[in-house]
């Protein structure tokens, strides 16, 4: 809200349309063009159409904000453009039907600042996301961008910068939580004629997209932070390693580098100092393990991205054997703020051991899904029920998964735990890169464990035997359990294998891959037991263990299910009670979806039989007429 310029009279307005990947998939590029055209046709003076990066509230996308009022529009379509332009931008009357509706109260909320999803956040890393045009460096400079770098170059020695970051308590936001200042100190003290600064933007965790959004929404802050880090460690070459799956982030980061060079914030003798830095972009080629730092280095060098044992640590022997520092996107995006506002200011947020804020990608079975930034130490309950607006469809909360494939699933009893590195680790999960996937009663925890294992098993680079073969064995067992062929000895076997894979693997991938299995075994053992002993899936999710039945007293013989059934296994006829052939049924659930709500004749069960006729019978006349 800070950057909207107040004007003479009240006519000056800017509408910012989100152009993050999420909103672009909702055709926000077309909306922007339509707005520009309509504003021009109307000849509106003092009205600007501009765009921003991701607002974080992708669920409501495409979103747009009108400044200076701070009116927030959700689910905008190109068809809404004439009304927005005429009613709001021209006549000053906001379009109420496009306001965000609170999922709990159903109330329409006009102002961005009043939306709970935003008002309860504390944004440091994402401070500019959705606030500025991510393709114009002047916008970043107008909100104080590059002041921190100027201050560092003018007033601070590298030692002072490292000391400031150390005192701030900033820890690596990539997952492991190693103190950033200490990491820089190692590299600063390492002997070497050439040092490298690397930004790890290989965000591979399924369910996490904060690095992508940060690069798409505010690439300048990442580059400024990286430049300060390079100054602190004494690097003159830098690399940003970005997933190739993020084409928009790659484009904006490249553009931001080019603009920073033009403004003298990158290149030779930055801002007239003796410090020079050149940053190159390297695109990843689709290997999850490259998020691990030594594997990432191998990938930049043009090799297979396989981790190696440490020591030597990259601080001493990294890229091409030279001292190298690797920091995550979010850690670097925090650095300019620490320099600007001071270590004490930053350290005043958070808990004793985890300072500052953390960004989570809140997704899954949650009403408000999107990116959130909250102070460390906030209870999970607050994130899920207040910011997230709870579980949609009156379903019951079951678990929250943090830390992606390396993390674990936490049950309801952990909802009041503070979120920080230590408490998540104590619960068997981890902070990881910040994915937070909410699961409700319809999510099967054995299937979730199987899902994560299938991911890590496929992404294992194959170097360490326990990881390569152990995860495969674990996956085979989990698949068997989901198919209803589990054996009682599978549970202790999974436990044992999990611990061995953790102990016997070289890098973070193998050391954490069993976590989803071990935590679900710890907190949801009853679900494993139900699958194995009763051949029952309590969440009614594992296809092999469920069946669908048509209730004879509810079916009205409309025939929709029989028409839609892909395997043609439903027998029926006009005004006949339909019957599913259980042998032929593929358990796709199409019939349940298409059965009209007023009949709701189809049920899904597991390890139960429902009494139904063996072939179609006439529909019983409803006694409704008599009652009326």
């Amino acid at each position: 809200m800070t950057r909207a310029k107040p004007s003479n009279g009240n006519k000056q307005r800017t509408i910012y349309v989100c152009q993050g990947t999420g909103c672009i998939s909702g055709k926000s590029l077309e909306i922007t063009e339509a707005l520009k055209k309509a504003v021009k046709e109307q000849g509106l003076q003092g009205v600007n159409v501009d765009f921003t990066g991701c607002h974080g509230f992708c669920e409501q996308g495409p979103v747009a904000i009108v400044e200076p009022e701070g009116i927030f529009y959700a689910h905008v379509t190109a068809a809404d453009v004439p009304e927005i332009v005429e009613s709001h931008l021209r006549d000053g009357k906001p379009v109420e039907r496009l306001f965000y509706k609170d999922p709990v109260s159903g109330e329409a909320i006009p102002y961005h600042k009043d939306i709970k999803f935003y008002s309860m956040q504390q944004r440091i890393i994402l401070r500019n996301c959705g606030r500025l045009n991510p393709e114009r460096i002047e916008d970043y400079m107008a909100v104080g961008g590059y002041e921190s770098l100027k201050k560092v170059l003018k007033e601070m020695t590298p030692e002072q910068v490292i000391d400031e970051v150390k005192r701030s308590g900033l820890r690596g936001r990539g997952g492991a939580g190693f103190p950033t200042g200490t990491k820089w100190d190692f590299c600063h003290n390492a002997v070497g004629d050439q040092k490298y600064m690397i930004c790890n933007a290989d965000e591979g965790d399924p369910g996490a997209f904060m690095d992508r959004s940060t690069m798409e929404g505010d690439p300048y802050t990442v580059i400024e932070g990286m430049t300060i880090a390079a100054y602190a460690i004494g690097a003159s070459e830098g690399y940003i390693y970005i997933r190739a799956e993020y084409p928009l982030a790659v484009k904006r980061v490249r553009l931001a580098i080019q603009q920073a060079e033009e403004k003298g914030f990158l290149g030779d003798k930055i801002q007239g100092s003796d410090f020079s830095l050149h940053i190159h972009v390297k695109e990843g080629a689709g290997a999850f393990v490259c998020g691990e730092e030594t594997a990432l280095l191998a990938s930049i060098e043009g090799k297979r991205g396989m981790p190696r044992s440490r020591p030597p640590f990259p601080a001493n022997s990294g890229l091409w054997g030279k001292p190298t520092t690797i920091n995550n996107v979010k850690s670097l995006a925090t650095v300019p703020v620490i320099i600007d506002k001071g270590a004490e200011w930053y350290a005043s947020t958070g808990t004793e051991k985890s300072k500052g804020t953390c960004v989570f990608a809140l997704t899954g079975k949650i009403a408000n899904s999107g990116l959130i930034e909250v102070p460390m130490g906030i209870p999970l309950r607050k994130i899920i029920y207040e910011i997230g607006g709870g579980i949609p469809g009156n379903k019951k909360f079951k678990a929250v998964q943090t830390g992606g494939p390396s993390g674990g699933c936490l049950p309801e009893s952990y909802l009041d735990q503070p979120v920080d590195y230590e408490s998540l680790a104590a619960a068997g999960s981890m902070m990881g890169s910040g994915g937070m996937v909410v699961m409700d009663e319809e999510t099967c925890m054995v299937d979730v464990a199987r899902y994560f294992l299938s991911f890590t098993q496929a992404e294992s680079c194959g170097k360490c035997v326990p990881c390569r073969i152990g995860t495969k064995q674990m996956l085979d067992i989990l698949e068997r359990i989901c198919q209803g062929e589990g054996r009682p000895e599978d549970i202790p076997l999974l436990q044992q294998l999990g611990e061995q894979v953790k102990a016997g693997s070289l890098c973070g991938l193998g050391q954490t891959a069993p976590n989803p299995v071990l935590t679900t075994l710890r907190y949801f053992r009853d679900e494993y037991e139900a699958h194995i002993n009763e051949k029952r899936c309590p969440a009614l999710s594992c296809t092999k263990l469920i069946s669908f039945y048509i209730l004879p007293d509810k079916c009205q013989g409309c025939g929709i299910c029989a028409r839609e059934c892909p395997t043609e296994c439903i027998a029926g006829g006009k005004r006949m009670v339909h019957v599913i052939d259980q042998e032929k049924c593929a358990r796709c659930g199409t019939c349940l979806e298409v059965c009209p709500e007023r009949f709701s004749a189809i049920v899904k069960v597991s390890a139960e039989e429902v009494d139904v006729p063996s072939e179609p019978i006439p529909v019983k006349e409803k006694p409704k007429a008599a009652a009326a």
Binding site: T21, S25, E59, P206, A208, F209, G284, A285, K303, F452
Partner: protein, 148 residues
């Protein structure tokens, strides 16, 4: 290949970017291209083959004209990505990882495209489609065949 090489110095670390350009140009990495890269960078073909097979991005067989990817990220998974995948497989008549015989479509799954708030998602070339349902699949696939 000559045109691609003109953007590079012939340094070993350029292998992955060169493979990426090759992939983009031919829609796969042909064996003949590996041979040329080997001579250009002075590294054994076996190493190039090793790198090409390590990274998911590189294909050794030609891709279809349209690359369809169904996201199987966690958020997509819990919101029903497997049903979307099954529907796409049914409509295209190919399984994930396969290319249709007429080289029109290649279907893949992807670990995460980072549009989790719109789960379940799928992409067709560079277009992202969010909040997918089995019903929307036909619409989205139809969208692209019309654009032809």
């Amino acid at each position: 290949m000559k045109e691609i090489f003109s953007h590079y110095q012939g340094d070993k670390q350029e292998l992955i970017p060169i493979l990426q350009e090759t992939q983009a140009k031919f829609r796969y990495v042909p064996a003949a291209a590996m041979h040329e890269i080997s001579r250009f960078l002075r590294i054994p073909e076996s190493t190039i083959y090793g790198v090409s097979t390590f990274y998911a991005q590189f294909k050794l067989t030609p891709l279809g004209k349209k690359l369809i990817r169904v996201c199987r990220g966690t958020a997509c998974h819990v919101r029903g990505a497997s049903k979307v995948l099954a529907e796409v497989e049914k409509q295209l008549g190919i399984k994930a990882g396969q290319t249709s015989d007429d080289l029109e479509y290649t279907l893949e799954t992807v670990a995460c495209i980072g549009a989790c708030a719109l789960a379940p998602t799928m992409t067709i070339d560079n277009e992202t489609y969010g909040k997918m349902t089995t019903k929307k699949v036909a619409e989205v696939l139809g969208d692209t065949s019309k654009a032809e």
